[in-house]
Symmetry: D2
């Protein structure tokens, strides 16, 4: 059984580039090295190249499009993301929704480029739907919990449990991340107990005064 995945989304926060992003990446590298837990980072597109070249942690794009090479100005080509050094990509994040057809095309394009795929969803039915595309991961982010400070695993464990069931019924090879309301090591522990294989989180690490301490806490019960 592989290690759980702790995936940190830097969004377009001020802390998402420059020396503060570097500090988060260094902390991730350190804690991952100490603990053996996989810790990934999803910076903005411009940071994919330098982060992938300066740090050993797996780097994820925050979005890739379901396009092939061609005349798509301003879009994100999976092959170019891979070439820049990324290990994987988020697809269909709640802040960057795609059409149903484009979710399928984006998963396909990312797989072809050799990227690990993490499709974000918002409820049980969309999680099952996303599983039809056979991504590596589905990350469930119940909208009422995003940025709420309330732990999904405490507030609404049923949505996680039912999503795990629904995804597994569609494709047992698809793994699940708990994608909102993760604040602490206890949250991570509960997320794994509910049958998911990691967490997707953002502000609780990125906005922390001491990201290293938060990361250390997050993996403390694994």
């Amino acid at each position: 059984m592989s290690s759980p995945l702790i995936l940190i989304n830097l969004k377009t926060y001020d802390e998402g580039y420059g020396h503060r992003a570097r500090k988060i990446a260094e902390s991730a590298e350190l804690i991952a090295g100490e603990s053996g837990v996989r810790i990934g980072i999803a910076p903005n597109f411009m940071e994919i190249h330098p982060m992938s070249h300066h740090f050993s942690v797996p780097v994820y794009a925050q979005h890739t499009d379901g396009i092939g090479a061609g005349a798509h100005t301003g879009h994100v080509l999976a092959a170019a993301v891979r070439h820049a050094g990324a290990h994987g990509t988020l697809i269909n994040h709640s802040e960057r929704r795609l059409t149903l057809a484009d979710v399928g095309a984006a998963v396909e394009a990312a797989k072809t480029a050799g990227l690990e795929t993490v499709v974000c969803t918002n409820n049980v039915a969309t999680s099952a739907a996303a599983a039809s595309f056979a991504p590596d991961y589905v990350a469930i982010e119940p909208p009422e919990l995003i940025g709420s400070g309330v732990s999904v695993s405490k507030a609404d464990p049923e949505i996680i449990r039912r999503s795990v069931d629904a995804v597994t019924r569609v494709d047992p090879g698809v793994k699940i991340l708990t994608g909102a309301g993760i604040q602490s090591g206890e949250c991570v522990k509960i997320a794994l107990d509910l049958g998911t294989e990691g967490v997707l989180l953002a502000s609780s690490v990125v906005k922390a005064a001491d990201p290293e301490a938060v990361l250390r806490d997050l993996i403390s019960l694994l």
Copy 2:
């Protein structure tokens, strides 16, 4: 076993309003009455009210949004569509794609309003995904066949067969329409033989010199 569904999409064609639309609706009413086959019409939003009040054929919206009543100027509220007399609605047509989350929300909103739901998809994987939302119908429109004049049932029967399998595996209660490349009664016959329960078509009826004759041919082998 219920009758197959022949669903005519008037799009925003010139023939989609005014006396030519009325003539198509009259033909549909006539042929449906003679044959007992269900023939539905999806006109533009403005025509839903008059068509529903002047004709007995079931009327479908071409799109509804996944919203509730509120401040959504220019959007399409399922309850208002129902109030205008519609029987059902297309959702996620290839010319009006929705995000994955909005497909789910639109199916939910339409069901709540008492509308029959027809979710359009473009391949096997998106058909399976759409089935996760438990709509009444999934209508498969392989993009390479839309408006091509080539019959889907002849050109690529496998995509239909595999979509039927995939949808049935997710939810055996979801029916399937063959949604592109339908020109004739023989096409309809093959579509049903492949396991689908009707067809979604547009130009071959709407742009016909004699829509009544085309409709009569379409149902001739049922």
Copy 3:
């Protein structure tokens, strides 16, 4: 000099269809008849046909697309809106934003169809930009005031004044509506004093216990 325009947007409110919408239309017809003030109504698409046929007040669509007749399922064809009886249309409402190119195309298509055009904007620069398309009206809705209960004409008269200047500089033939924060006859009076030729409003009429009384107040100082 023509009468100011009071334009009521029914959005997708519950009150926007059925007997409550009819009551609003009746009140508008009554007050317009008594006062000689132009009062228009923008209902959902399905209500355009029945409202235009049952009432004498000018009816506006809440949105039209910059398309011609053709394969545009789920889109809104200006010619079909006109055919249904509409007098004009909103374009680019804050809840239904269009791309820059589509604003231009939508104004063009609506004019070709014989519809009066009301392009919504959010600040001075977008108002000047919208004026480049030579619509009949630009309606300014400062986002911080939408639904705030604060009167734009009191809270921020400068944005209206500067928008009037900017629009006039680009095209003196374009009229301006004050599009947010209108609650009373005094607000309407101030809006006109600032150089605009009417108001666009929604909840203060639509959600009122007595829409007729609100309308009577709105036109009371004209």
Copy 4:
């Protein structure tokens, strides 16, 4: 008077990253150095950082969003683009259209971040509209000429001339690029004679067997 700008859009072409992109950048650097003409390059987002650090030519993003720092996963923050080393950015390219409000917000955000702004438009009216936002450049790309192999300056010089007039009338400080149908030095010459201050082009350089030769030809009559 400043040098004209030759701006090369690498789009998401296969040649837009890796050694072929590097070769284009090297050629641009060489020809710019020899001639004193400004030659800019707009690569995909991931290439902004390495290109800006390895080459002296000004690098442009293909798109930036009208957002501030915050929770905008998968979007493009102007400040992060600037931090990566970019000199400027395209906004509203025909393959990445923005809403009217977002064009305004994107220009504002890019200026605040210290980026040169190039807003793409498709006709005279949208060019005038774009000028209302006071970008550094408006780049006109008549849609019928994009990728057509027909020179805009030969096929339709009037659209360029009238756009120059319209933009200048709105804001004489805004410069104009001819943005489609540029194949040769003669095209560039005509573009400048029509009153524009440079060109935006893509495939004729990017897809060339010998980009250096094409660039040398493009600047040959300046």
